[in-house]
């Protein structure tokens, strides 16, 4: 039908070029991570992975508390993900399908606060953490992130579209309480969107840098904080920094390769409604 728009060679050429530039820096980090520092000064530089990767990884774990950092990040991102998925579905159900006084005002407030830069409140949040004596602990990173406005908005959008009101009414007539409805009707229906929200939340939590940097100490860091310590300073050990990068990025890239299609679907779905 419309031939001009089908895969023109130039289209492929452009896309392949862009794909190359998207993937190359990540690939480059693997190359650097698998050589020693001397290889970086060579002209032309090495373009294939070398055999030094595991020796470098060993060095990373010797230099920084990377094992602890990985563990911390798994606990932090895991807890936040489960919590955001659950509370967003709960609140999203109420906003999408239940009628109550103040519903619209509360929903509007949620949407508006999504637009406010988070850094605006960072000083008082830090003061609050000092008051609670949470600085330097994972509570300071986990608790403020247990819920977020985006998640509630996302689940509200999804449930108002995907959850048939008739199904809920049928459950009501059968004498289901709201809690039973949530457990047996809403949760199963919410699963696809909750999964996407979970993946996005995990990625965000895993990659979060600024707040953990502010509130944690160098001896008990998350992965991103440990990585930034590894990669900064006077000594330019690029191999060390980029090996740390590879180790810190690996879990996410694995998730992404396995579930990339769903993540992309989720982002595009959210975009149409957003």
């Amino acid at each position: 039908m419309f031939k001009a728009l089908r895969g023109h060679p130039l289209t492929y050429l452009t896309l392949v070029a862009v794909a190359f530039f998207s993937a190359f820096p990540v690939y480059w980090s693997v190359i650097v991570a698998s050589h020693d520092n001397a290889a970086l000064a060579e002209v032309p530089p090495p373009l294939l992975p070398g055999g030094n990767f595991f020796a470098n990884v060993q060095r990373v774990f010797d230099t920084a508390p990377f094992a602890l950092a990985l563990l911390n990040s798994f606990v932090v991102a895991g807890t936040i993900t489960v919590s955001v998925m659950f509370f967003s579905t709960l609140a999203g159900f109420a906003f999408a399908k239940l009628r109550f006084r103040g519903r619209n005002a509360l929903l509007l407030m949620t949407v508006v606060t999504m637009m406010v830069p988070t850094q605006l409140g960072i000083i008082p949040l830090y003061m609050l953490m000092i008051k609670l004596e949470w600085t330097g602990t994972m509570y300071a990173v986990i608790v403020p992130a247990l819920v977020n406005a985006f998640g509630v908005f996302f689940m509200t959008q999804y449930l108002s579209r995907a959850l048939p009101t008739e199904l809920l009414e049928a459950g009501r007539i059968d004498g289901c309480s709201t809690a039973r409805l949530f457990w047996h009707v809403v949760l199963p229906a919410a699963r696809p969107a909750a999964a996407v929200l979970g993946m996005l939340t995990f990625m965000t939590a895993w990659n979060d840098y600024f707040w953990p940097l502010v509130v944690l100490t160098p001896d008990n860091p998350t992965v991103q904080v440990a990585l930034s310590q590894l990669a900064s300073g006077y000594v330019r050990d690029f191999t060390l920094g980029l090996t740390g990068t590879a180790v810190a990025t690996l879990p996410l890239v694995l998730i992404f390769v396995l579930l990339g299609k769903q993540i992309i679907g989720g982002i595009m779905q959210g975009a149409v409604k957003g």
Binding site: P25, L90, Y209, T249, G274
Partner: protein, 349 residues
């Protein structure tokens, strides 16, 4: 809409008031027979049911709002209060000083320097990024081989963390061993000390931001483009409109809400840039991290806020900077919104 089932249950109860049900509920378990226990049991149940219907919605949004109020809303508002004080982490006495922090801020050259850097890096990263995203989405919006592979590769940079991005690109932009300088040298342009100059450092940071976000925005545009009816393109193709003309003449006007959405989100994001300059400076020295380079050549507003708040712990002053930053975000977002809306007239076919 939700009233029918609730209403029908309510009519079963003899009286909707409290006292009758309360009186009859003790007799319920004893079961004196006849229709009476049935009515009382259902009366008790209907009360419980009504309570469930009325209280549940609040119970369900409560966890979100309680946590959000404590760790989201409260700090936002409290910032304004702190900004009116001479508030320092180390001093026990925090006197009220009115708008003095704001007056000092307006006279602070470093603040305006940071504001300029933020706008400069923002323009340099956002405009090419969104244009590129638009073209990419346009190219992907057709039956292609390896469609999924292209999409996944485009989103790969977005999965990479900010720290990883800056570490990788700092190596690529390195003065002595960086791949980019190596290529420039080979092409005969000479090496650039990327961190040293205002323009070069802004370009380097903008490239990092672009690399991380262009693919993400392309997917958002693609999602919107797929909702545009294909017949329009077919008609335009028959009329001999080129692919690029179709992008500007048809696609862009049709996906305008999404364009406005991405412009707003990207603007808000680029006004808050902090990790990139912080880590880019840390490659030079630890001292150059919070100042955004040795001469503050790439210190953004958020980084300025970080320096004041978490290096010298001047909470009051940093809070004033946060509010000014917020005002600037509102102004710039409003301005961009008006610009994008005005584009409407020029783009209509």
């Amino acid at each position: 809409m939700a009233t029918p089932p609730g209403g029908s249950v309510r009519t079963v109860a003899p009286s909707p008031g409290g006292p009758p049900a309360a009186q009859s509920s003790p007799s319920g378990p004893s079961g004196t027979g006849g229709p009476a226990p049935a009515t009382t049991a259902s009366g008790w149940r209907s009360r419980l049911h009504r309570l469930d219907r009325q209280a549940s919605p609040y119970a369900y949004v409560a966890p979100f709002f309680l946590l959000f109020a404590a760790f989201g809303i409260f700090p936002l508002i409290y910032t304004a209060w702190v900004s009116l004080h001479d508030w320092n982490l180390l001093s026990s006495d925090n006197p009220f000083i009115g708008l003095d922090n704001y007056t000092a801020l307006f006279a602070d050259g470093y603040f305006w320097n940071a504001a300029f850097n933020t706008l400069s890096i923002g323009v340099l990263s956002a405009v090419p990024q969104l244009l590129l995203a638009l073209v990419l989405a346009h190219l992907l919006n057709r039956p292609l081989r390896a469609q999924t592979l292209f999409r996944i590769t485009l989103l790969l940079p977005n999965v990479t963390s900010v720290v990883a991005v800056v570490v990788i690109f700092s190596q690529l932009f390195g003065r002595d061993f960086g791949l980019i300088n190596m290529v420039l040298d080979w092409l005969g342009f000479g090496r650039i000390n990327w961190q040293a100059g205002v323009a070069s450092s802004h370009v380097a940071i903008a490239v990092m931001i672009m690399w991380r976000w262009a693919g993400y925005n392309a997917l958002i545009y693609l999602a919107a483009m797929q909702a545009v009816p294909k017949e329009i393109y077919e008609a335009a193709t028959l009329d001999g409109a080129s692919s690029l003309r179709q992008l500007w003449g048809i696609t862009l006007p049709m996906i305008r809400p999404t364009v406005i959405f991405t412009v707003i989100v990207t603007t808000i994001g680029s006004m808050q840039i902090i990790a990139e300059p912080l880590l880019f400076g840390a490659q030079v020295s630890n001292g150059a991290a919070a100042t955004g380079g040795t001469d503050r050549q790439f210190q953004t507003l958020a980084l300025y806020l970080y320096e004041k708040g978490f290096r010298s712990f001047e909470f009051g002053y940093a809070s004033a900077a946060a509010w000014m930053m917020f005002l600037l975000v509102v102004v710039v977002v409003g301005f961009n919104y008006l610009v994008v809306r005005r584009m409407r007239g020029g783009l209509d076919v």
